[in-house]
Each structure stands twice: as structure tokens, then as C-alpha cells.
Symmetry: C2
Subunit: 623 residues, 2 copies
């Protein structure tokens, strides 16, 4: 079996090497002339200087009458001046000032006195109420320097300055070639083994945000000659070519070889995680980039390298990236082998912005959909402690992050449903929920990292929920649990219960799927094991941990496991059988100082609403 | 002459009245189904839930061999395990895990030992190197709540979740009707009295940024029936209609009347400056808005009201607006009659962001092209003192504002030329220059409001430039003047010098145009007057003040004045005759703490470069 190790070039070196090469082969966008009314958002090649003044003639700034100012100098309340038709010319706003006039009297200041005569009781000074030539723009003034992105008002100013056409940099066309035998176009019900091709959609969207157009080519199977032909075609038609997948060094990875045969591979393998197996190449003076097949890896390369290739095309060195300082909520360990891109959620709480790391797997596109930004852990850094200040590259505008209700704790689909109810109500904030289990909620609220979180913690001594845990872990009383829902916990098993599971102790004989440590459901599991005198070692799959009820249900439905503890609504969603075990109290732990917070109040309002209760009863298993 | 006074409804009341009405008539965007690959940037109607899991089957996460994990449990360096072809199935990344396998061994960990046998020296645990069903997305999970704007990664997640089509809100089409007898389409050389129609270009660009499409109708003259027909046509074809100009209450202002005849006018006249003469109306359930003719007034109404009409269409209450806290550099006086929109430039200096007000005229589109943000002075506020902290609504990303070299002082076109040289060199900062005269530079640098500024201040006693002023006004020595350019000052007069002006004292007999107080050129003027024993009262136009050399030149070229002091390059630009008066020393005053600032250094590097000197000599008048 073929396997070649990749290089592991530090990101900065890889970029420098690549961009120096692209510059040396003259990679750069051509220009075109476009009408200014269509030029908004485009980048101008050279500085734009006004051809004419604006206004280009002396214009009345008001509706009224134009006069020679000096005839009004004597006017006052005691000594009104009368204007006869020989003294004035009626003008509207924008009209050219007639010859021999140098001021305008506003219509509001004219007192009609018959025979088209007017009285005035105050004077005007020369050029009053006149927009003199060049008031806004003087011929020869620079309207914008080279390389400016044209805003709507700049387009207006160019037109006002007599510029009707302007030379701008052409919008680059980026060819995207999806490759892979197992890849299929998006379908609702893929066959087993079919990988839905969604990366090109992600790339197309990102390229749009880089101000690049894109052309997605048909999916090409893993055949060297077919991919090579596709690349050659794209090289002829596009300014930049992206080959999706096949960028590593495995059996079916041809990207590097194909680029070498057409031009030059500068870099193969970058010390960045995710994103390592990227190929940076060039042929015919155009960049060809091999993107990793895993979506998250590819997005990192798009964000970090393709965006800068587009900037280089536009003659700019680096795209502008907004950043914000935040406090890291959880320790991160990172390898010295790579610089690592850790997606985070952000929210302002207690005066600081806190950053919570999301799952780091390369295949987890949802770690990007949920991400508010990314923390780049430098290659020479082994990790960052909780509480440290870090710089986050923003994916969303800060204003959105400022207005975030942070709900950190036990998973229940009802939190998403509440956030949707709030969205439909146009609530002026968003809900950012992360699933870290009930104990996670206790720590997050205690440490000021969340406004609130769901908890369902069984005290195995008293049989009560939550109270004793809060007293133990938050003895200063800074947080309080408010009413949430009652819900049924039970064993989820395959439809029809083929293994005949009747009670909890039956899990000894089947493949179990567990929840993560700290989850309320895990604590319930451990309690039930102890009660039944079963050791965790006896459970096949005890260490197979999932983070949500739906994840457990999904694995049982797929046959990866035979049983798992979870809530009824998850079992129903996956059409599983459900063996009820107990009713539990799912509450929301809230930092007391946020009880009157409008976001928290609005969240609870939905939770307690009749409309929401109706929805819960549809979902099932809430009591 | 007809004149009706407008209402003066406070902005918040106007908006509330208008939006309540629009809601009451059911104004709201329709929806359409679009393929997810084309849905990036669109707003989804309802929450999106995954139809399938992702991965939807157990997939190999690596290239390697799939095995039953338990057969590897004994493997260690001392006790290698040998896999025969019956024990494994070769898999590539993404392949479905074969029946009876539950783990993958990476190709890197396989030691070939002939006959297709492999040795391994470490075990794998169940599900290791396998992407289990639902690792990324579980069927039934909410991918995004209602009203979410689809990002590239969200589109990817939808496709991964088996959603190929999605219901989104239609993009609204906004009709723009430019009106006015004097309005002409953009031309390079308009006739006197022609007003170049650039507002629709500005609106189109702004609407794009609000996620609305636009259709610009032909210019309609000021005829009531023609405008009415145009509005009716646009009402049939568009979701929102904008009528540009004619929104006031003058002779030719028909917008309000026309809307009344077709539907309802809710508001005519808003207490906002600029922007007062706006009409907010509705017909056939669609908003019709009469925009003021002055571009700046119209932009304020677009920004404040039309953007929110589009948000309402999309079912969102308010567009997100980024703001920043800044320190006001100059006192602002404002009327209690209006809330006022003061455009400002922004830059970070000395740890704070400082905000400098731009010209406030309604016709000055360049006050928007230069603006980094806007300060909204509330209606109940009479003014704001210099040094107060204010909130600025941002027009540009903060990162751009952070990297700004602030050059505040005397006007010379060479500053724009330097900023263009820097742009061409891809300098990682921008130059923000404001023309407040040489004394303005002294105050701005002294008060920490600018990094540097141009000065040319003649000491009329010693004949020296700048030195004595700096010593007097900045006695603590915190700033220093560095070498700039020598330049020729003189009288600019009409080509051919028809009035036969020979020397400075001749301005007694002609119409003069002056520079503003504090300008070095104004100080020169006052010095020359005194030297020639002429009183300012004897000068016709002494109070006619302009802020730049080009503005003075433009007025002389237009015939508004006969003479003015200025630099040779401005006279040359306007093809004026030039009577040299003196050579002066134009220097840059720099706060000493910024002498080593990279932006300042790069600015001076350009200033002293041979390439720049060559450009100066083309411009002429520099010595």
C-alpha cells in the first residue's frame, strides 16, 4: 500500500514561499473599464481625480429668489427693503444662479406685497444660500487613492466629479473541481458509502465573501487522467483553480502529482491543524491549490491561504481580519507539530467576552456553523490555560456577539426549540448553547462563563434533583435553579426490541453507548449500575461516550450499539423503542445577578408559555 | 409662490408610526424555495432540522485496514499481532466500514510482512479511526433557527444533513425613480444647470448592502402626471418604491401629493438633519418613500429608514449596526429642532479612538466618502464638548480604523499624492488627512489628536517659518517640525490676468477669495495686508473663506472671485495666471513620540523619495 509522508512546513513559511513564487511568475489581476454606476464594491486600479467641480456651476441652494446681495444690505425689521421684479429672479434649489446675482433669499423670508413685489426684513450676504462651484468637490482633487474599494458614496462622488467610467481590477474566476469516487451531488437520501459533495458549496460561498466569482465543475472520479483533464480545462477558463480532495499522500491522492506534471508544486503539507494535507502549486502563471477533503481542513486553507491568493490577485497583501480579545473558558492543549485553528463560540458575560472551544474534529462542519471565531494556537505553543486572554479572529460581527445569551450545560432539544421561538419573536439577541452536561453547567455558571445552563443531577442519597449539587459546588449561593421541565429517562433500544431488553440490568449483555462524564444522564447510569451491583467493566461500550441524546439514539438506530440511556423525545425522533426508567427534574441553573437580565427573562417567558408547552407535548416524553 | 411647512416629527416617532402602519397592512417578504448550493446569504423562513445524520453511515476516518478491534487487543511492541487477509479489509478515508468491523488501523501503523500479511504493535479500541453515524450532525438536530442568514458553512451543514432545497425569503426588489427637470444621466461634461444624477447609484449600492435588489427607472421630469405614472409602474413591479427628490414642500415637490393620491402618507418631514424633507408613505401594501434630493440627506434616510424597511420585509426588526466609543476632537453645536447626523473620521491615537467631525452640509457627498462613521446628536442635545466620549456608528471595519495615520493641518495636494504612493506600495495603513490650516495642526498635534500635520506659519517679525509658533504654542517641546517642501505662494488670477493685477496691494480693487482663519495662507494674507497698510474692511470678499487651495482656484476659474492667495500647483491645475509673492517653508509637525511610528516613518520615506520628488516637479511650484 502506497503511503508518502507529507511535508510539515510552518504556515508562515509556506505562505511566504508560495506568494513569492506567485509574484515572481507575475500573478496579478487584469483590469477592465466599467461604468461607475455598476462599479460599487469594485477595486480601482489608480487614484481617481475629479474631472470637474461639484457643483460645476453656482447653484441655488434653496427655493427662493436670486438677487445681488448688496441691494439687501439695508434691510431690517425697521427698514424693510422692497424687491420689484427687476431686482430678482425666481429660482428653485439646484437652478444656476443668474448672471449678476450672487445670493438667494429663501422663499420663507419673502413677504408678498402685490404686483410681484416682495418685502424682506433681513439682508443676505454675498454667496448666501448659494452652492458655489466646487463646494463639494474641486476639479483635480483626489477622490480616492489607488486600490480603494468603491463604496456607494464613492461611486456617487466619482459621478459628481465627472467620472463616468473607471478602471477596476477584474473579478477573479475561481474554478472548483470536486474529486472522488464516493462523492455524489447533494441528495436527500444518499446510499450507504455515498459522500454528499457539499464542500464546493462552502467554497463558493467563501469565495463570494472574498469578492471572487466561482465555477463549480462536475464531480471527477479518482482517475489521474480525468482529474488532469479537468484541471487543464479549469486552468484555461479560470484565474485560480481549486482541486477538492485528493491532496494528501494516499493511494488515490493525485493532486500533487498532477500539478507537478502541469507546473510546479511549491508546498505539499503545511503545519496547520486542521488543514495539513494541502497542496500549493502553480501552472501557466495561475495558482492551483489542492484542498483537503475534510470540510473543516479545507475551510482553514480557504480562510488562510485562498483568501490571500485572491488578495494578491487584487494587488493587496492581506485581507482585513477583525479580531477581538476574549477570555478562554476552557484549557486547550495543542501540539508543537502544528499551529492549530480552534473554533470557538463567543459571548459577553460579566463585562468580558468569553471564548469556548468547539469540537476540533476535521470532519465536523457544525464546528464552523456554530463558530463565532477562531483561536489560532501558534505552533510553538503547547496549550493555553483557562482564564487566559486570547485573540480571536472574528467570523461574526461583534454586535451579534455582544447580544448573546450563553446557555451551557445539559443537552435537551428543547433549548434549540426555545432559541427558534425567540428568533421567530424577533428577540434582539441570540442563544448560544453548548452541551457540556449538567456538571458542566454547574462549573460554567459558578465561574461566570454562562448566564444559565440546564441541569438534571440526581442525588442518589436523597433521590432529589439538583439541590444538593448546587449547595455543594456553589456554596456562596450565587446561583439558583428555576423550574424547567419534567422528563422521562429510559433505555433506548432498536425498534421492536430484538434483544428483549426489559430493565436496566439487561445492559450487561448488550453493546451499550454511554454519555460523557459530567452529564446528568451519565450520573444516572452510574447510579443505576451501583444500585444493580454492576461494575462498569462489565458493560461493553461503557467508554463509548456521546455528548447528546440524539447522538446516542443515532448510534442505536445505526446498529453501532444496542442500548443507551436517554430521553423519550430522542427515541421518538429515531423511531426507537423506549423502556422508561424514571421521571427526572430538568431545571435551569441561573446566576442570580442575571435573573433580571432581559435575555434570561425572555428565555424563561418562552419556556413557560402555553405555545411552548404545546410544542413540548408534540415532542413527547415531557411530564 | 407656494410654500408649505413640513412636519418635524422626531425620528423615533416617525419610524414607529411608519413601521406600525406597514405591519398593519401586512408588509412582509414572500418566500421561495431555492437549491441549498445557491442559498448562501439568504435568510431562511423556518428552523432547519437535519433529515439525515452526517456521516449517515459508519465511515473510515483514515486510509488503512478495517478490523474487529478485539483481535488487536493483545498487540504491543513485545507481542506484535499479525493480520492475515481474512482479518482485515483495505479501506480508504470515507469508505463505509465493512460488516463485522468496528475499527480502522492507519496505513502508517501497518508493517508489511509478505503474503499480504501485516504486523501491528499497538491495539485499536472499538470505533477508533471510525467516523460513527452522526459524529457531525444527528438527524433531527436543529441546524439553524428561523430567520438565520445562511453562511457558507451553514449551507454545507444543510447539505450534509440531507437538505437540498430550502425556503428562504425572497430578495426584495426596490424601484428607484429619479425625478427633476434639471437632472441628467451621468456625463463627463455637463452643461451649466445640469445636475448629474448620481443619487440612484448611491442608493443602488446601499440597497445591495441591505441585501435588496434594485431597479433604476428613467429620470422623470417634474410633471405630476409623469411622476405618478412612474410610481404606479414601479408599484406594480417592485416591493418597495423610492422617489428621489421632490420630497419637500416647494413648487415642484409632488411626491407627497402623489403618494396621497395612491395610498397614504404617514409622515412628511422628520426632525433629522440632514434628511428632514422625507416622505414616508404606503400604497397597495408597499412602502413608497420620498427621498430628499440632497445626497447627504437622502443617505441619512436610506441608512436610518430604508434599511429598516428592508429589515421589516425580511421579518427582522432592525439591521445590526456596529458602533465604537470614541473621543470627540472638536466641539459640536447642534439644534434642539433636530437629531443631527454628523459624519466623522476616526483614527486610533495615543490609545484612544478620536472622532473628527466632517463638513455638515447636505450637499457634500464627500463628507460620506471620507466618513468612517456617524455621530448621532440626539434631538434633546444642544451640543457636545471636545474631549467627551461619544458613540459612533461605524461605516468601516474597526481594523481599518485602527491602522490610520492621522494627518491634520494645512492643505497641500501633496498629502493626497503621498497617500496614493503608500496605497500603491501596499502600506498596511491608510492616511486620513483633514484640512484645518496650519494653526489647526499645532492644536491637533499638541492635544494628541493627530500624529502629524502640515504647517507653513510665517513669523512676520523674524521672517522665519514655523519655529516661533511651535515654541509659543507647544512650549513643552513635545512636537518637532521635520523637513517638508519649499513652495511658491502667490496670487491666482484669471487666465490672461484681465484685471491687470501686478502685486498684492492690487487686491484692494477686485473681488478677493480668502482662506479660513488659522490657515498659513490666511496668516500670510493678513501679514501682507498689514505690510501694505490695507485694512481687511477694504477688501471685497475678505470674509469669503475657503478651506483649500483648489477651492480658491475653482472660484477664481468660475468667476466668483478675481484673485486669491494660493500655491502654484493649484493655479496650474485650473489654468490660472499666477503672480508669485514668496517662497515658503512647508514642514510637517510631528508629535515626538510618533517619530519612530512605522506609519509616520513610511510617510516620510515616500516624502523624501526620488520618485515622489519627480512627481512634485510635474505638479509644479515646489522649490
Amino acid at each position: 500500500m502506497k503511503y508518502n509522508y507529507l511535508n510539515n512546513l510552518p504556515l508562515d513559511e509556506a505562505k511566504e514561499k508560495y506568494f513569492e513564487h506567485l509574484k515572481s511568475v507575475g500573478f496579478k489581476g487584469l483590469t477592465e473599464k466599467v461604468p461607475v454606476p455598476d462599479a460599487c464594491g469594485r477595486i480601482i486600479k489608480d487614484a481617481a481625480y475629479a474631472h470637474i467641480c461639484s457643483p460645476h456651476y453656482n447653484a441655488s441652494a434653496m427655493d427662493g429668489v436670486a438677487v445681488k446681495a448688496e441691494i439687501t444690505f439695508a434691510a431690517s425689521e425697521r427698514t424693510p427693503v422692497t424687491l420689484t421684479p427687476e431686482d430678482y429672479v425666481v429660482v428653485d434649489t439646484g437652478d444656476p444662479l443668474p448672471e449678476n446675482c450672487d445670493a438667494v433669499i429663501m422663499v420663507e423670508d419673502l413677504i408678498e406685497c402685490g404686483n410681484n413685489n416682495y418685502q424682506i426684513i433681513s439682508s443676505v450676504y454675498p454667496w448666501q444660500n448659494v452652492r458655489q462651484v466646487g463646494e463639494d468637490i474641486c476639479m483635480g482633487d483626489m477622490i480616492a487613492p489607488s486600490g480603494t474599494v468603491l463604496t456607494p458614496s464613492l461611486c456617487g462622488a466619482l459621478l459628481a466629479g465627472g467620472i463616468t467610467e473607471i478602471e477596476v481590477i477584474k473579478t477573479p474566476l475561481v474554478g472548483i473541481i470536486p474529486t472522488g469516487d464516493e462523492i455524489v451531488p447533494p441528495v436527500a437520501e444518499p446510499e450507504k458509502g455515498d459522500i454528499i459533495e457539499f464542500n464546493s458549496t462552502v467554497f463558493k460561498g467563501m469565495l463570494g465573501s472574498f469578492n471572487a466569482d466561482s465555477k463549480v465543475y462536475p464531480i471527477t472520479p479518482d482517475k489521474k487522467n480525468l482529474i488532469k483533464s479537468a484541471v487543464e480545462k479549469a486552468l484555461n477558463e479560470c484565474d485560480i483553480v481549486l482541486v477538492s480532495a485528493g491532496s494528501s499522500a494516499g493511494r488515490d491522492d493525485y493532486t500533487s502529482e498532477i500539478i507537478s506534471s502541469l507546473g510546479t508544486v511549491l508546498v505539499h503539507g503545511i503545519a496547520v491543524k486542521p488543514g495539513k494535507p494541502a497542496v500549493l502549486g502553480e501552472a501557466k502563471g495561475k495558482p492551483i491549490i489542492g484542498l483537503p477533503g475534510y470540510p473543516v481542513s479545507a475551510i482553514v486553507i480557504m480562510d488562510e491561504i485562498v483568501s490571500e491568493v485572491v488578495s494578491l490577485y487584487y494587488g493587496k497583501l492581506k485581507p482585513v481580519r477583525e479580531t477581538v480579545k476574549a477570555v478562554l473558558s476552557k484549557k486547550i492543549v495543542s501540539s508543537l507539530k502544528y499551529s492549530e485553528y480552534v473554533r470557538v463560540t463567543l459571548g459577553r458575560i460579566g463585562g468580558k467576552i468569553s471564548a469556548s472551544p468547539l469540537p476540533r474534529g476535521a470532519g465536523v462542519i457544525t464546528s464552523f456553523t456554530k463558530a463565532d471565531g477562531v483561536l489560532i494556537v501558534e505552533q510553538n505553543c503547547e496549550g493555553i490555560d483557562a482564564g487566559e486572554e486570547v485573540e480571536i479572529r472574528l467570523y461574526k460581527p461583534l454586535s451579534q456577539i455582544e447580544n448573546t445569551l450563553i446557555v451551557t450545560g445539559s443537552h435537551d432539544p428543547l433549548i434549540d426549540v426555545i432559541s427558534d421561538f425567540l428568533a421567530k419573536k424577533n428577540a434582539p439577541f441570540r442563544v448560544c448553547s453548548t452541551h457540556v452536561g449538567s456538571m458542566g453547567a454547574i462549573y460554567a455558571v459558578r465561574d461566570g462563563l454562562a448566564h444559565m445552563g440546564g441541569i438534571h443531577l440526581l442525588d442518589t442519597v436523597t433521590g432529589e434533583y439538583n439541590k444538593s449539587y448546587i449547595e455543594k459546588y456553589i456554596p456562596d449561593g450565587k446561583a439558583v435553579a428555576v423550574k424547567g421541565v419534567g422528563r422521562v429517562q429510559g433505555l433506548m433500544v432498536k425498534k421492536g426490541n430484538p434483544l428483549g431488553i426489559k430493565e436496566f440490568s439487561d445492559i450487561k449483555n448488550v453493546r451499550y453507548v454511554n454519555r460523557q462524564r459530567g452529564a446528568g444522564t451519565r450520573i444516572l447510569c452510574d447510579y443505576l449500575l451501583e444500585k444493580n451491583s454492576i461494575s462498569p467493566d462489565e458493560i461493553n461500550g461503557y467508554n463509548n461516550e456521546e455528548f447528546t441524546h440524539t447522538a446516542v439514539a443515532a448510534l442505536i438506530a445505526a446498529g453501532n450499539a444496542d442500548a443507551g440511556l436517554g430521553i423519550y423525545s430522542a427515541a421518538k425522533m429515531y423511531d426507537l423503542d423506549f423502556i422508561p426508567i424514571c421521571n427526572e427534574t430538568y431545571e435551569f441553573l441561573i446566576d442570580k445577578q442575571y435573573l433580571e437580565n432581559p435575555m434570561v427573562k425572555e428565555f424563561l417567558e418562552v419556556l413557560y408559555s402555553e405555545e411552548f408547552k404545546a410544542r413540548l407535548s408534540e415532542m413527547g416524553g415531557y411530564v
